[in-house]
């Protein structure tokens, strides 16, 4: 699963939802562990496998606008906790 949201807190919640299960217990994934590998589109894991010009066209501007360091930290934390990677 690849996310594009701009807000670190939301990215963390969404990542938690599709790995360990909905942390807010409000949606259908409450208590359901999908264990899906989840990345943010700006993370190096995605970006470096993508075609550089397509990446620049599609994401370049958003990347400048986003707090990518905070987003990466949030999503990595969830991956480490829930997927062990």
């Amino acid at each position: 699963m690849i996310l594009g949201a701009a807000e670190p807190a939301y990215v963390e919640m969404m990542a938690e939802t599709v790995t360990a299960g909905d942390p807010t217990y409000t949606g259908p994934l409450a208590g359901v562990s999908l264990g899906l590998p989840v990345y943010h589109v700006t993370e190096p894991e995605v970006r470096e496998k993508a075609d550089a010009s397509i990446y620049q066209d599609q994401i370049g501007l958003s990347e400048v606008a986003m707090q990518t360091d905070d987003i990466w930290q949030s999503i990595r934390k969830v991956r480490e906790r829930t997927l062990g990677s």
Binding site: A6, P44, K49, Q58, I59, V64, M66
Partner: protein
């Protein structure tokens, strides 16, 4: 609050999107699903689903 203005190079080798099935969940004020999907396809992934969210 710190914003990244440049590309960073660490950690890119752990995920291989080639042949992977991907769900793209975008956001109106972030990156939209169509843009995520284009990037994922360029890395060899098959995009199963494109969805967007709006928080307002």
């Amino acid at each position: 609050m710190r914003y990244s203005m440049r590309r960073k190079s660490e950690g890119g080798e752990r995920l291989d999107l080639q042949g992977k099935k991907v769900i793209a969940i975008g956001e109106r004020d972030g990156v939209q699903a169509t843009a995520i999907a284009a990037v994922a396809r360029s890395a060899g992934a098959e995009v199963l689903l494109e969805l967007n969210q709006c928080f307002v």
